[in-house]
């Protein structure tokens, strides 16, 4: 496949994509898709959240998963960065800690595809000591 170098190339690629599948305006129906939120504050970035978020975007494109990958601020789990929150359609959000590329792959394969839980979940009832 030729590389995208200009806006004209981008337009061509977009038209190719459109003919293959239906590209929705994602923000219209986020409830029907997998939502991945990556903690992208100073603590997250310093621990490699950028790489993890890039992995989620590239892999959802490659594996054909209908997902919205977005960023969020610091969730207060600086000790467990990179932290991600995954919301499957109709389910409660689940927060995973210490997510590197290997863990991210496991989350996609096991949790996103099959609904199996994997290690590294941060329980919601966790409270910080003030």
């Amino acid at each position: 496949m030729a590389k995208v170098k200009s806006l004209a190339d981008l337009k061509k690629m977009k038209e190719n994509l459109q003919s293959k599948m239906d590209l929705r305006e994602k923000s219209d129906a986020p409830d029907s898709m997998v939502q991945v939120k990556v903690g992208m504050a100073t603590c997250g970035i310093a621990s490699g959240a950028k790489e993890v978020m890039n992995f989620f975007i590239e892999e959802s494109a490659k594996r054909g998963i209908s997902a919205v990958v977005t960023q969020t601020g610091c969730m207060g789990y600086c000790f467990a960065e990179p932290t991600i929150e995954v919301i499957m359609p109709g389910k409660d959000p689940i927060v995973f800690g210490d997510v590197d590329v290997k863990k991210a792959d496991e989350i996609i394969e096991k949790y996103v595809k099959n609904g199996e839980l994997v290690d590294g979940i941060i329980p919601v009832n966790y409270n910080t000591i003030d």
Binding site: V4, K5, L10, K11, L17, S27, T42, C43, V69, G76
Partner: protein, 179 residues
């Protein structure tokens, strides 16, 4: 932070949190004058003078989830290590401007890193915002403007993973011709 692209991601998050609708980033490389300059501009909510005075203090943050705020402090430290500086101007209700100067030749200046990935992630996470990224070196200039990209996409969402992969490739190809 391992490189400048990570710092840029971090600093632009501040503009995102300030509800900006247009975020501009300009990188200027001037080897003759030995300057490597980053300039951030947003039209977000801005800061009051009291907040502005504390902004480079690592123990100040507007967040409630934790008690430290290291983003600007870390960038300032990196800039000053090369003999450079970090300056902020801000006006409440109008926006914020941040200028970071590095010595281009200094061995302590972090490398740029994967800036295409940074821009792609920011655009994908904030499709409703506009980003303008301009990079100037002695070899030329590249401008990435999400307004132009949105016109070309004709209503197709910017946060589609397939589109984002193409966007990253486009920025990468163009940046590699000038740096």
């Amino acid at each position: 932070m391992r490189d400048l692209s990570e710092h840029i991601m971090d600093i632009i998050q501040n503009s995102v949190r300030a509800n900006a609708t247009l975020i501009e980033l300009e990188i200027l490389e001037d080897e003759k004058a030995d300057v490597y300059k980053l300039l951030f501009k947003d039209n977000g909510c801005g800061m009051s003078e009291e907040v502005l005075a504390k902004v480079a203090d690592p123990f100040f943050t507007s967040r409630t989830t934790r008690k430290v705020g290291l983003g600007i402090s870390l960038l300032k430290q990196n800039a000053e290590q090369t003999g450079g500086s970090l300056n902020i101007w801000s006006k409440e209700g109008e926006g914020t401007q941040l200028e970071v100067l590095f010595s281009h030749s200094n061995i302590d200046r972090p490398v740029l890193g994967n800036i295409a990935e940074t821009m792609m992630l920011l655009v994908g996470a904030n499709p409703e915002m506009d980003f303008l990224y301009k990079h100037t070196t002695s070899k030329g200039e590249y401008v990435f403007d999400t307004k132009e990209v949105k016109e070309v996409l004709e209503g197709v969402s910017l946060n589609d993973p397939n589109i984002l992969v193409y966007l990253k490739e486009m920025i990468n190809e163009n940046i590699n011709t000038i740096i």
